[in-house]
Amino acid sequence: MLPLTLLNTSQGHPMLVELKSGETLNGHLVNCDAWMNLTLKEVVQTNSDGTRFFRLPECYVRGNNIKYLRVPDEVLDIAREKNQQQREEQRKSNQPQRGGYNRQYSSSGQRGGYNRNRGGGNFGRGGGQFQRGGRGY
């Protein structure tokens, strides 16, 4: 599970964000995107010395200013569970249409023309396979 996937699953959880400037933001993650831009709510902001505190009802952080994020331990477990579930669902959705012969060709990309003629079903499966191969390490 990729760092940004983990960030996504942290939505709704409390987290600590430290900016490059050394300021920290403590709050609940509302939303985030592929650039690590964040929206937080119920935020406590501290200055870089940790001497002053500000309460903000909500705030937006542009991703490039982030140094690191600290998330609760349990978020890792939740992310792992979700990952497992997704994989299971994908496997199930692949099973009913068992066309081993076609699937092989669609995933390898050879004879694409032939497969395209066989309709959209193959495409969906091909995409699924691509995702599986491309994920992670």
Binding site: M1, L2, P3, L4, L6, L7, K20, G22, M36, G63, N64, I66, K67, Y68, L69, R70, V71, P72, D73, V75, L76, G136, Y137
Partner: protein, 164 residues
């Protein structure tokens, strides 16, 4: 290009984030641009070298003292990473040639100190005090240096806060 034996491929050393594949699920030392040292288990990473660290501790080192703080799960933004290194367990390291070299390098190779670890652990209060002293000293040095530089005609427009 006559040598295309596929078994040779693993010997290519990637100097990109792909290199980190070998480090997944291992205990790593991560140094950040602000000088912070994090020690944790690498759980995942991406093409920007964004890292997920689990069971992380932050180690503050001042001179020959250190102290650890339990921190938990980190998502480190790749830009801020200076180096990532795998930690070989000390029992393996201890007594090895590398350890011997390190001791020689650190001038610790006298018979009495032979078995001593170069760093000693101190309490958090102590390390914070030492760290603050270090920061104050650095700031003072910087001020003196700057005023001298201004005296001889240089202009100063940056403060050296970033280590890298």
């Amino acid at each position: 290009m006559e040598n295309t034996d596929p078994s040779l491929l693993p010997s290519i050393i990637f100097t990109t984030a792909a290199q980190l594949v070998d480090c997944v699920d291992k205990k790593l030392l991560v140094v950040l641009r602000d000088g912070r040292k994090l020690i944790g288990i690498l759980r995942s990473f991406d093409q920007y070298a964004n890292l997920v660290l689990q069971e992380t501790i932050e180690r503050i080192i001042v001179e020959s003292m250190y102290s650890d703080i339990q921190r938990g799960v980190y998502i480190v933004r790749g830009e801020n990473v200076v180096l990532v290194g795998e930690i070989v367990s000390f029992t393996l390291f201890f007594g090895s040639v590398a350890f011997d070299l390190l001791l020689t390098y650190l001038n610790l190779k006298d018979p009495e100190k032979e078995n001593s670890i170069p760093l000693r652990e101190v309490s958090l209060d102590e390390i914070y005090a030492a760290q603050q002293d270090e920061i104050d000293n650095r700031r003072r040095r910087e001020l003196t240096k700057n005023s001298k530089l201004i005296d001889i005609g240089f202009s100063i427009d940056t403060q050296q806060e970033d280590m890298y």
